[in-house]
């Protein structure tokens, strides 16, 4: 079975990433999960960070009795048995681990298998909190999910890392979509910005791929069109910070050719720090706080969109969004 394809009744898989550590990935994942659960959805939050995992702390689970490491180490292959309860009704958790330095991320093939299993969990939503960085393991969760949410803050370092993340996701998706050695090599070359062929932009790459094979060019365009990252700006203080989301969306469209969506923003709010100290999502501990209102708004938007039965919130899309970024499975990379 193709892990990218949602079956009817299957949970919707939403991955939260953003490249840089500390921009609020875990905060956003924990709060969206909690807000959705409070809105009556059955939610399972999954922490795929196997080194610095702390989603469990953000959700008020002090010491999860089991974690995803059990699956990665093949000690437990039934994901349902790794799910633990949280203090929030309707919200359950598959924790990551902080200390198993020996536990490597699963290889591509195993990740695909894991993603397929995540889709068979009994829930309405599976929210995946990705670790920092742009390792292929992180990218796969981001790319195969129904929704990939990219979190950034209004700081140069965060925006740079967000693009690094987006670029890595973009090229990985393209490489997985290419079916010939030549075009795959072209994508690899394009990832190296100093390449000799002068492929600098995604458009340069598309041109080179089309020259090599028009059919591959079509696959290229299809892979780009079906990739729809969603942006969340965290730590907003001014209207200019709010506008950053529109600016990044514009760069996504004009430079990458990606139809990114600006999902929402969350303001800077002391209540978020207070909630972390209280080891609770802010939507639970301070539901009237400004940040909680923003977070609930984003959660509601996602739920409403799903209820309306389409992936894009803002305008009609030309064709239903294919859920899989990849053509038929191929051997592990």
């Amino acid at each position: 079975m193709n892990p990218g394809l949602a079956r009817p009744g299957a949970p919707r898989l939403l991955a939260v990433g953003g490249g840089k550590g500390g921009v609020g990935k875990t905060m956003l994942a924990a709060n969206l999960a909690a807000a959705m659960a409070r809105a009556g959805q059955r939610v399972i939050a999954v922490d795929t960070d196997l080194e610095g995992a702390n989603l469990h702390t953000a959700l008020g689970v002090p010491a999860p009795r089991t974690s995803l490491a059990e699956y990665v180490a093949r000690r437990e292959l039934d994901l349902e048995r790794l799910v633990v309860d949280t203090p929030i009704p309707g919200l359950r958790l598959i924790a990551g681990t902080q200390s198993h330095l020996g536990v490597a991320q699963p290889r591509h093939f195993r990740r695909v298998e894991l993603l397929g299993k995540l889709r068979r969990l009994a829930a309405d939503w599976v929210l995946v909190d990705l670790g920092a960085g742009t390792h292929p393991s992180v990218m796969d969760y981001f790319l195969v999910g129904d929704d990939g949410v990219l979190v950034l803050t209004p700081e140069p370092t965060s925006v740079e890392n967000a693009y690094a993340f987006l670029r890595a996701a973009f090229y990985r998706r393209l490489r997985l979509a290419m079916t010939t050695e030549t075009t795959r090599k072209l994508v690899n070359q394009a990832m190296d910005q100093g390449n000799e062929r002068g492929i600098r932009t995604p458009l340069d790459l598309l041109r080179a791929v089309r020259e090599s094979s028009p059919a591959e060019g079509e696959r290229f365009v299809a892979a780009v069109q079906s990739f729809r990252p969603r942006l969340v700006v965290n730590g907003v203080r001014t209207a200019e910070d709010v506008r950053l989301g529109f600016a990044v969306r514009s760069v996504c469209r004009k430079y990458f050719g990606l139809d990114a969506e600006y999902l929402g923003y969350v303001n800077h709010d002391e209540a978020v720090a207070e909630a972390i100290r209280a080891r609770q999502p802010v939507v639970v501990s301070h539901p009237e706080a400004d940040a909680a209102v923003y977070l609930v708004r984003i959660a509601r938007k996602l739920i409403d969109e799903r209820a309306r039965g389409h992936a894009g919130a803002l305008r009609a899309r030309p064709a239903p969004r294919p859920h899989s970024p990849t053509p038929p499975p191929r051997p592990p990379l």
């Binding site: 209004p154 140069p156 925006v159 693009y163 001014t238 209207a239 600016a247 209540a271 706080a289 708004r297």
Partner: protein, 263 residues
């Protein structure tokens, strides 16, 4: 999608739909233009300064045409004509160097300045389409879509207050509505002539720093008006909060919420 700057029409450049209202075009222009300004946060790490300059020129050109009702009408007709014309196969914009111009033949006057790289011809003096031609084109066209011009731009409606109508208007809610509309405190201050410090006190509900109730009512009314929200929805609710506080309700509120009510 996956188009070079030269292939995009003006609507795609400004990222607005074909039926965008004038205020949506104004706003889209301001947003998109700012994205490629100087060392703007969103673009500097992705595109070179030269590319940014080209993009700004292309954006300016798109705005120049779409913000002028006559030019826009003429441009729309040219676009319609281009779409109605049977396509010469699927024109591959990368087929050869002149591809972009061929694709855009009916719009050549609009597009030629948007050659993707460097060699830009000097900006032509005359607008690509004469006003007379534009007027002759469609004298009877309805001027504006029926939407109110101060309505929120459509791509922001999804962000609009989701609290049920009639919910209390707090300082935080005022600020949320302000940020949603892309306004800074100083913008509101300029428009209302209210001291920015008072506006901050309003948002932070520092009621003790605000003047007499009658002024607070005036402030909130002016503030709501600038946001395009009916003041009669906002002022009574906010003033009641302020009044309640001054009658000696519990202190220690920050941003309109009781402090740390962990539950």
């Amino acid at each position: 999608m996956m188009k070079s700057l030269a292939e995009m029409d003006h609507y795609e450049v400004l990222e607005v739909p074909r039926d965008a209202r004038p205020n949506e075009i104004e706003r889209a222009f301001a947003l998109v233009r700012a994205a490629y300004e100087g060392d703007a946060l969103a673009a500097y790490s992705v595109i070179t300064p030269d590319e940014a300059k080209l993009w700004r020129e292309r954006i300016d050109e798109a705005y120049r045409v779409l913000s002028d009702p006559a030019l826009r009408r003429a441009y729309d007709e040219a676009l319609d004509a281009a779409q109605a014309a049977p396509p010469d196969d699927e024109v591959d914009p990368f087929a050869d160097g002149a591809g972009a111009e061929e694709t855009a033949a009916p719009l050549a006057g609009f597009v030629e300045r948007a050659a993707p790289r460097a060699e830009l011809p000097p900006a032509p003096e005359a607008p690509p389409v004469s006003l007379a031609a534009a007027h002759a084109a469609s004298p009877l066209r309805v001027e504006e879509p029926p939407r109110r011009d101060d309505a929120l731009p459509r791509d922001l409606e999804a962000f609009e207050e989701d609290e049920e109508a009639g919910a209390e208007w707090t300082g935080a809610r005022l600020r949320r509505a302000r940020l949603l509309r892309g306004l800074e405190i100083d913008d509101v201050s300029r428009a209302t002539k209210i001291n920015p410090t008072y506006l901050r006190f309003l948002e932070e509900e520092r009621f003790d720093g605000l003047p007499a109730l009658v002024y607070v009512r005036g402030f909130v009314t002016a503030y709501a008006r600038v946001l395009g929200i009916d003041p009669s929805r906002v002022a009574p609710s906010y003033v009641a909060r302020c009044e309640e506080h001054r009658r000696g309700r519990p202190r220690g509120r920050f941003l309109g919420r009781p402090h740390a009510p962990a539950r």
